[in-house]
């Protein structure tokens, strides 16, 4: 229910942008690259992260006549949960769903053929452990990779460039860093282990957008 409520809030936030009539709708694909966090235990430590894998997203943007704009995005990423220590590795199937709203500032005015931009925003991210559980998982003394769900707050920063291909079609290249707190339900520290901090998820993506106004 918590997830559903968040989705509704984000959708409502996107409504004003959609109402502004100069809108853009698009989708893209790329990859997700996570940083890791150390899970420390009395016996040592293990690096915990999400494995790099494919990412895909869709967005609905409202661009003003000036340089400012805003967009609501949904991003899906595959990528197994991973623990590694001393040459031993454990992995467990997983996926993430992120929903957020970003404010965009374009370096070129509306109507320019090439418009670099920077973006920042916030939203939520859901981590889902989807692997097959087994009776023994390596490195389980550090953390347990779990078939569970984790809902975390998300901060998004990034940028990119939009290139007008036709009157209504844009090519977009983005790079985002999605920051979340460590998902402790799906990578659950075992008794005596500790983990914390932020996970960075760098997501480069290439996509196409349809713009309602020619040359926007």
């Amino acid at each position: 229910m918590k997830l559903a409520r968040m989705l509704v809030v984000c959708a409502v936030a996107a409504v004003p942008a959609a109402m502004a009539q100069r809108w853009e709708f698009g989708g893209g694909a790329g990859g997700g690259f996570y940083t890791s966090q150390d899970v420390s235990a009395p016996s040592g430590s293990a690096a915990a992260k999400i494995q790099s894998n494919v990412a895909a997203g869709v967005w609905l943007a409202n661009n003003g006549r000036g340089r400012w704009g805003g967009e609501a995005r949904y991003d899906y990423q595959r990528g197994a949960l991973q623990l590694s220590s001393g040459g031993t590795q454990a992995a467990f199937g997983a996926e993430t769903h992120a929903l957020h709203y970003d404010i965009l500032w374009h370096a070129a005015p509306s109507g320019a053929r090439v418009r670099p931009f920077v973006a920042a925003g916030a939203g939520v991210k859901v981590y889902r452990g989807t692997g097959a559980e087994v009776v023994f998982q390596p490195l389980s003394n550090f953390a347990l990779l779990t078939k569970a769900r984790d809902l975390t707050a998300l901060v998004s920063v990034g940028g990119g460039v939009k290139m007008q291909l036709t009157s209504h079609l844009q090519l977009r290249m983005d790079l985002h860093d999605y920051l979340t707190s460590f998902p402790m339900q799906v990578i659950a520290p075992n008794v005596g282990s500790k983990v914390g901090g932020w996970l960075h998820d760098f997501v480069p993506m290439v996509g196409l957008s349809y713009t309602s106004t020619p040359g926007e």
């Binding site: 097959a132 087994v134 009776v135």
Partner: protein
């Protein structure tokens, strides 16, 4: 071609119709004459039958199984063949009339696509058979030549000649069937690439015909005289195996399998390969005039699977439909129709066990019962009766209708004078069943505390035992199933088996301990197995140009020698060449003739430098590997028999006689303990086994070889085998039944029930057992409840480590037994420090337990048995973690661990013991039923933290003894986290284990 459903309906009806004829299988189709051959035309839905005496080809409908029409042909159609395209039916006429009548030998070619138009072709010699190949040309075999016949052109071409064959002439004496006149048969492989045949009553010859090259070659069998019957051949799918009469030959012409005990009549019997199922169907009477039965055998080694009663004798060739659903055989009345693909529609009987074992013990002299299930493999309702062959055993009910459960009850007191194992057969009979069910063996053992060893039930005919010095294994040769059984010598459990050829007799290992050699008396081969992989290797032929079969094998440092019997029944010593994979009959045995008694065995010393041969007629030989020759032959005794062995210190034993390095008898062992069975040299001494008869207690004793005196003779749990066989019709006087294991932890002996395992120090004095504690077997600390599994801790509780897998659980194991308030208790496992057992149902409150061993009886151990004491088994394992609670998630059937945590909404299956009495009640040592389930009378309460879990089932786990299970679901408000307490509460006792719970 008939629709398959029609065929099934018809064949099913046929099977039942056959059953109605007093329990016989199949339908007789009379043809009003004598059938000589048949050919199946499935495309037209007919079977052609050559009616030899009525000069007709009968056309039998496959749908109605009646003669629908007849094709009149010339006199004496003796062999027929259908071309692969179904156009031509070729008929060979055996018209070898004696003067003054003229011969009418010839062929008739019938064009089945042209209104059965006929063409006649004359032959100069009597035709023995015809067979079409895939090239639509036919091989015609006469007494003088092999002819290739082209039906399109009507031409003939002589491919080769036949020598030394004289055909019978007509007329013949009354009541002579066609196969006894033509004495020939040809079969074609189902790919039409190969033909195989046999011919003549003078010099019997076999041949192979390769259709692609039109070449004829010898078939591997040549017989100067005598009957070679039944005079029928059959080929497997690719022609690699052929069956002629009672001999199976391979492509190399080697006799790889022979039928034992064959009456050897020209015209009674049949055989046909079922390539689809890897079987052979054969009618091979053992004596003339016996009731006909169809044997269902494995086609690779002729292991008998089942026997079916036939309504009349088969008398020639058999063919199978392409889908192997129906078999047609030439028979007394014409044709037998046997729906072997729908055997389950015919009433049959089978018992749920080959053996029932009643282990009497010094704790238990009461009447004991076991359950036997009598079923029809096809699921039908077949009436039966069952009876025991000796008093002291009763069966109730003694008759009924399948499926049925009968109770076999044994009164051990009737057998108490034997002090060993008595074997009583239960015979199944039925007026309706078409099969011949094998008897069920009932083993009744009665033993005293001083008797040593534990027997393991191995049904069948066991003939040899051999320890593997390179592996923790020993091998037991089961002759009736053509199997080498492989046993793990650390726990005496069977870990594998290897399939031999027919009727294996003896085992030997190569010097490098890599290969096992197996001799046979119904195969001209020595089977070779790689002991690392347990896989068969190419066989070694023992043919040796004289049709030798092997009795025993000895491997020396110089040669591998085998005692053998040739086709004339004469004994020889063979030199076995494992490189060339063949054997040769040694020209001489040193200065002696190579002629030995047919019952001769060979054995090698442990250093492989000497081989002793011993014959039933009292003759002994010695082969010295150093000089590569036989250096001794003597006959100091009129007969020999029993155990035989050779030592590394130039001493030899045959029966009760000790021989020196020149094989001169130097001493006699005592004979008061019975006949010699097994002997093994160990270091500078020996161990021997003897018994007065098969149902007595055997004796095992060390012997002092300097004086031949016995040391501490000790009674065994049952008698060692006193005779072995070289096949169903041939007993042997020699026995090799004792195998000391190289690890020196056990001695293994072939005994009445199978094998008996004795501890190496079987004759050591044994201290009395002592009980120090008793607890639930689940966790080793919880209290015990009636019907639950318990562990008894102490010292000297058993002289051996042993686990039982018998059902019901025996009340004695490894010479230990246990009583609770004087009541014998089922035992699952014994060792010196621990016994695992099932607490009797009646044991509740304050009880007294005692352990009985050969060392004596323990002091009483008093304990309190509570009504309920749930205890989850801590026997789970995950990675390196052991002792995990046996709580299983139903979703993935895996043990609950931190990495396979409990989820909300999961169903958990908790395995435990100690839930107490159930409804219905289940007998001690008996497995729990599945319908109805045996539910606990007191329902346990299961909780995760403070949240109670709905319990779906609590009671005995079906099929298990003393093991209970609780099925419970996890509610959505169950607490989450690591180490959540899972609590089982029943009555006054609670047990808790910690589990991880997640969303």
């Amino acid at each position: 071609m008939l629709p398959k459903s029609w065929m099934l309906a018809i064949t099913g009806a046929l099977a039942l119709a056959g059953a109605a004829l007093a329990g016989s299988f199949g339908l007789v189709v009379p043809i009003g004459g004598s059938a000589a051959d048949l050919a199946l035309d499935e495309a037209r839905g007919v079977l052609y039958v050559a009616n030899f005496t009525a000069n007709r080809i009968e056309v039998v409908s496959l749908k109605t199984n009646r003669v629908q029409t007849s094709i009149n042909v010339s006199a004496q159609p003796g062999s027929i063949s259908l071309s692969p395209d179904g156009r031509w039916l070729l008929v060979a006429h055996f018209g070898n009339n004696a003067a003054p009548a003229s011969p009418t030998n010839g062929l008739t070619l019938i064009d089945l696509t042209n209104n059965n138009a006929k063409q006649a072709f004359a032959l100069g010699n009597p035709p023995l058979g015809v067979a079409f190949g895939y090239d639509k040309k036919a091989l015609v075999v006469t007494t003088q030549e092999y002819i290739l016949f082209d039906p399109v052109l009507g031409t003939t071409q002589v491919l080769n000649t036949v020598a030394n064959v004289t055909a019978n002439t007509l007329p013949v004496k009354a009541a002579t069937p066609p196969t006894s006149i033509t004495t020939s048969s040809i079969a074609v492989s189902s790919d039409y690439l190969h033909a195989f045949g046999i011919g003549s009553s003078s010099t019997t010859f076999t041949f192979r015909y390769d259709v692609a090259t039109h070449t004829v070659s010898p078939g591997g069998i040549v017989l100067a005289s005598g009957i070679f019957g039944p005079r029928v051949v059959s080929l497997n799918q690719d022609g690699s195996l052929g069956q002629a009469g009672w001999v199976m030959v391979d492509l190399a012409g080697n006799f790889i399998n022979l039928f034992p005990q064959v009456s050897n009549q020209f015209s009674v019997g049949t055989s046909v390969f079922d390539n689809k199922r890897g079987l052979m169907y054969a009618h091979m009477p053992t004596t003339a005039g016996e009731a006909p039965t169809l044997q269902i055998l494995d086609s690779d080694n002729l292991t008998l699977r089942e026997r079916l009663n036939l309504p009349e004798n088969t008398t020639g060739k058999s063919v199978l439909t392409r889908d192997a659903s129906v078999m047609y055989s030439v028979s007394d009345s014409g044709v037998l129709v046997l729906p072997i693909g729908n055997l389950n529609a015919a009433p049959r009987l089978t018992a749920s066990a080959e053996s029932l074992v009643f282990r009497g013990n010094f704790c238990d002299r009461k009447t004991a019962s076991q359950t036997l299930f009598i079923t029809d493999p096809g699921g039908g309702r077949t009436p039966f009766s069952i009876r025991a062959s000796a008093p002291g055993i009763s069966v109730s009910p003694s008759s009924g209708v399948t499926p049925a459960q009968v109770t076999v009850t044994v009164d051990p007191n009737v057998f108490s004078s034997q002090k060993g194992t008595s074997v009583v057969n239960l015979t199944l009979n039925s007026g309706a069943a078409v099969n011949v069910p094998p008897p069920v063996r009932v083993l009744v053992n009665v033993q005293e505390p001083d008797q040593r060893g534990t027997f393991i039930d191995i049904p069948g005919v066991l003939v040899d035992v051999l320890a593997d010095p390179a592996r923790n294994r020993y091998y037991v040769l089961r002759q009736d199933k053509n199997l080498v059984l492989v046993y793990d010598s650390t726990n005496n459990t069977q870990i594998g088996s290897m399939r031999t050829y027919n009727v294996p007799t003896s085992l030997a290992m190569t010097l490098d301990n890599r290969n096992l050699l197996v001799g046979h008396t119904k195969s001209h081969t020595i089977a070779v197995f790689d002991l690392e992989t347990l896989q068969p290797q190419p066989y070694i032929s023992s043919e040796a140009d004289n049709g030798n079969v092997v009795h025993s094998i000895a491997v020396s440092t110089n040669r591998i020698l085998a005692s053998s019997v040739d086709y004339q029944g004469k004994g020889h010593i063979l030199n076995v060449d494992p490189v060339l994979r063949n054997s040769t009959q040694l020209a001489t045995l040193g200065v002696y003739e190579n002629a030995v008694d047919p019952d001769t065995v060979v054995t090698t010393s442990s250093n492989a430098s000497k081989v002793m041969a011993a014959s039933a007629d009292g003759t002994v030989w010695l082969y010295d590997a150093n000089v590569d020759s036989f250096t001794v032959s003597r006959q100091d005794l009129k007969s020999l028999g029993g155990a035989y062995a050779a030592s590394a210190f130039d001493l030899f034993v045959v029966g009760n006689t000790l021989l020196d390095s020149s094989l001169v008898p130097v001493a006699q062992f005592e004979s008061g303990t019975g006949s010699s069975s097994g002997f093994a040299f160990v270091d500078l001494g020996g161990i021997r086994t003897t018994a007065p008869n098969a149902s007595s207690a055997g004796i095992i004793q060390h012997v002092d070889l300097s004086s031949a005196s016995g040391i501490r003779p000790t009674r065994m749990v049952e008698a060692p085998l006193l005779n072995t066989t070289l096949g169903p019709e041939k007993p042997s006087v020699f026995t090799r039944t004792l195998a000391p294991l190289p690890s020196r932890n056990f001695l293994v002996a072939l005994t009445t029930s199978g094998i008996t395992v004795l501890p190496w120090n079987y004759d050591a004095s044994v201290a009395p057992p002592k009980i120090s504690g008793i607890a639930s077997a689940a966790d080793g600390k919880s209290p015990v409840a009636p019907g639950g599994l318990v562990s008894i801790f102490g010292s000297q509780l058993s002289p051996v480590n042993m686990a039982s897998s018998e059902i019901p659980i025996p009340t004695a194991l490894g010479n230990s037994c246990l009583t609770v308030n004087g009541q014998p208790t089922p035992i699952i496992f014994v060792s010196a420090a621990q016994i695992n057992a099932q607490m009797p149902r009646q044991a509740i409150g304050n009880v007294t337990m005692t352990v009985h061993t050969p060392g004596g009886v323990s002091d009483n151990f008093n304990l309190t048995v509570v009504p309920n004491a749930p205890a989850i088994f801590l026997s789970g394992q995950a990675g390196s973690a052991t002792g995990l609670a046996t709580v299983v998630r139903e979703e993935n059937s895996l043990l609950v661990t931190d990495s396979n945590p409990v989820h909300r909404r999961d169903t958990l299956v908790i395995y435990l013991t100690g839930l107490g009495t159930t409804s219905p009640s289940v007998g001690d040592g008996m497995p729990a039923p599945s319908d109805p389930l045996a539910q606990a009378l007191t329902m346990p309460v299961v909780a995760l933290g403070d949240i109670t879990l709905p319990v779906l089932y609590a009671g005995l786990a079906p099929g298990q003894v003393g093991v209970y299970q609780i099925n419970a679901t996890v509610p959505t408000n169950a607490p989450q986290g690591l180490g959540i307490p899972l609590t089982i509460t029943q009555g006054d006792w609670t047990q808790t284990v910690n589990v991880r719970v997640v969303q």
